[in-house]
Amino acid sequence: MQRIGRKTSGKIEFGMFTLPVLICIVLAFYIPFFMSMYYSLTDWNGISRSVNFIGMDNFRQIFSGDANFSSASWFTVKFSILFIVLSNVLAIVIAVLLDQKLKTSSLLRAAFFIPYILSLVIVGFIWKFIFSQGFASLADTTGWPIWGWSWLGTPKLAFVSVLLVSVWQSIGFYIVIYLAGLQSVPSDLLEAAKVDGAGAFRRFFSVVLPMLAPSVTIAVFMSLTNSIKVFDVILSLTGGGPGGSTYSVSFDIYRETFQNNLFGYGTAKALVLFVVVLIITVLQLTYFKRKEVEQ
């Protein structure tokens, strides 16, 4: 009798501890997610009461005749690849240099970290000012043509600008991850390599880089998940322009839904994004799991 009582009270306690989180998560994710699945099959415009069920039409249209979506996808793929490569390579280089026991190492680390604490929208505005006003002044004083280029006004350069600003904002985060990873490289191993006559580059590629593998895993994973969702910087820096050349997938979804009032169509696109992110994440996790097992 007492045993049953304890069992029930244990269950009540389990419920009291876990129910708040469950309710919040169901409200924040699961219900919206299933609502999205429903609305993606409709032509709902977000305001009207009439919601017509149109089956797979939205998805058919996304994959057959939506030039905006395909160009936004292409932009996001290019952006993600270049962002991952650039931010990780640069972060490793800077982390290795900061790890040379400089007197100002921790101060420098903080300096590189500062943009990461700023809101991305604001970062976009800071650079809009630099690209338009700052570069104009530099062009006047130096006379170099590079400052006179239209960094936000031509499609190719606007892409480069969005990329550079994104790397600038988040590189501090990756530097910090790599600095933490570098602490696990045993110094006697480096000494031994030095005694064996390995130069600085050889030491880096044969000793340091393999030891950094776990940090690379984390940093690549984070940079991929962040870059695939790029939105804020574009909104404030280029607004998607010039001529729609810097629309990312997130931006395209946002525009379709809230500016064109195609809620049903926008949610369908959003679900496509979800499936792609899910596939990439699962592939990445299984790949890294296998690698960990091998080691």
């Binding site: 306690e13 876990t18 000012f129 006003q133 700052g134 984390i218 839904t257």
Partner: protein
Amino acid sequence: MAGNKTARAALEIVMIAVALLFLYPIILVFYNSFKSFGEVMRDVIALPHQWTFANYSYVWKYIDYPKLFVNNVVITALGLAGIILISSVAAYKLARTKSKFSALLYMLVIIPMLIPFQSIMVTVLKLAQNLHLAGSVWGLGLQYWGLGAPMAVFIYHGFVKGVPKELDESGMIDGATGFSLFFRIVFPLLKPVTATIAVIDVMWIWNDFLLPLLMVNGSPDTKTLTLAAYSFVGQYNTDWQYTMTAVVMAVLPSIVVFILLQKHIVKGVTAGAVKG
């Protein structure tokens, strides 16, 4: 050896120069906010001839800065407190209960980490409107509970597994049970990981843009710092002396806090990334 030392000194100087160049855009924006419109137009690079605070008093009044600041604090504090509270108790219970049901619930709780916010934002807004959570600062703060919980539970769960069970049991002997056991004995032990979660979530909520844009952009009374700067810049466009002042006012709290808590913030972010 001497050569080594000079090389290191040279590297140090180069790195300081690189860091200064790296931060130059922020420095530039900062001192341009003290110029008049004419001076900004004449030369952006030069320091102000005459430092003026006129831009600040104008923008301060126009966007009602104290109000925005309070909004940001309320949203962030409410969001963070809720995330910490509901996630820590749930993660503790889920980690301590060894059953299939508990493992299943844990999966249900952390799976949403895979859902990008953009892919559900439309219906999040619709649901929030139905629940009357849209359009108010408190409603927005509450929404972060669910959105932030999966990652917080994930990090807490991993940490609780490392806390010896004997500690709970010694608490039980003292007669503490349920929530009082958790908050008196276990929660204090989770302090380092609570700090990590706090750093990550404060940075996220304080700077968040898309969710506030959807939820509280309708009225000037409910705007956040970033939102206000966003609409201000949209309105004043090329009045750079004003827009850059709004930018400085929006980022200044973050920078001041960062300078004060630099070590903890960097440590928290690293720990969060390595564990997450």
